[in-house]
Symmetry: C2
Subunit: 190 residues, 2 copies
């Protein structure tokens, strides 16, 4: 039985190797450069091996995205340690933007590209729901009591808009912190 276990362990390792390599490659050269051929070469296996782990390129993207959600949740949790209030909301927003700018390819896999993950459904993976939950817990105080979800969604959308427009070169990056402050003021005022 030990042989079987070893094989499963090796297979799991290779699975993780694929995900890590895809992420590295995407972060250094962009997702366009993450082709099955290049990826296979990096992990030193042939392309078909990739398809014995994932249904296709999209599923690899989804696996990378899932990693991202776990990391984002951790980062947001760490930023939300302080007392409830405007300062914490600002810290959450800064953390979110920081995560996106530090891991652009990862962020794309999570929110911009088609990763096949279900959003806003009961089948939504746990790491994904948790990240949203952290935001909701610390923003609910400022929302209309009947609709905390709507408020968080709107705030999240605003952050996401800032991220995407900035990185696509639609907004100059220099004033990003100022836009962020302005946004937090608007959402947390009163």
């Amino acid at each position: 039985m030990s042989v079987r276990e070893r094989k499963e362990r090796e297979r799991a390792n290779r699975h993780q190797l694929i995900v890590c390599t895809a992420r590295e490659l995407a972060e250094s050269d962009g997702w366009d450069a993450v082709t099955t051929r290049r990826l296979a070469e990096r992990i030193e296996y042939s392309q078909p091996v990739l398809y014995s782990h994932f249904r296709g390129k999209r599923e690899i993207l989804g696996a990378v995205a899932l990693e991202g959600f776990a990391e984002l949740t951790g980062a947001l949790r760490a930023a939300a340690k302080g007392p409830a209030g405007r300062g914490t909301v600002a810290a959450l927003a800064r953390t979110y933007i920081g995560f996106a700018t530090d891991n652009p390819a990862l962020y794309d896999a999570m929110f911009s590209l088609d990763n096949g993950l279900p959003f806003a459904e009961e089948s939504t993976p746990a790491p994904l729901q948790e990240a949203f939950g952290v935001l909701r817990d610390h923003l609910a105080d400022y929302a209309h009591p009947d609709e905390p979800g709507l408020f968080v969604e709107a705030f999240w959308a605003a952050l996401h808009g800032l991220v995407t427009l900035t990185r696509a070169g639609r907004l100059p990056a220099e004033r990003l912190p100022d836009r962020l402050t302005l946004l937090v003021d608007r959402f947390v005022s009163r």
Copy 2:
């Protein structure tokens, strides 16, 4: 001389035909379906003809996007006829979201995909600057007088975030109008 003029006219017509066909194809089947082969077949020319008009696929995207900016400007101008105030801002926001949902592929060409157009520079094409100008003119009243630009950019980013997250399936579409109202309230209050 008339012959030369006719040729130039025909060439301009074909140029426009390419742009229109690309847009139609994208709107009906998505930008992934807009390949040089399909596009060439639709306009009943061979692929190399496309490259005598545009440097490549990206430049075709840019041409379509430019059309979009002109149309968006027109739509926003029409929506801004009324008196300054919350109602007009709400109308502008609704118009923006409506434009994006009615022309998803066009919107992608303008704001999500890589179209090669320069943003926020002196060389930014006029139709693009105008669209932003309409928003600025009607939002300036609510901004900090020193930084009207920042305010408009943040508002625009929030709208853009709503659009992209909704169409990517990250936010359920049903409550989009409610999120929009919430957003306008936050930006226009006080």
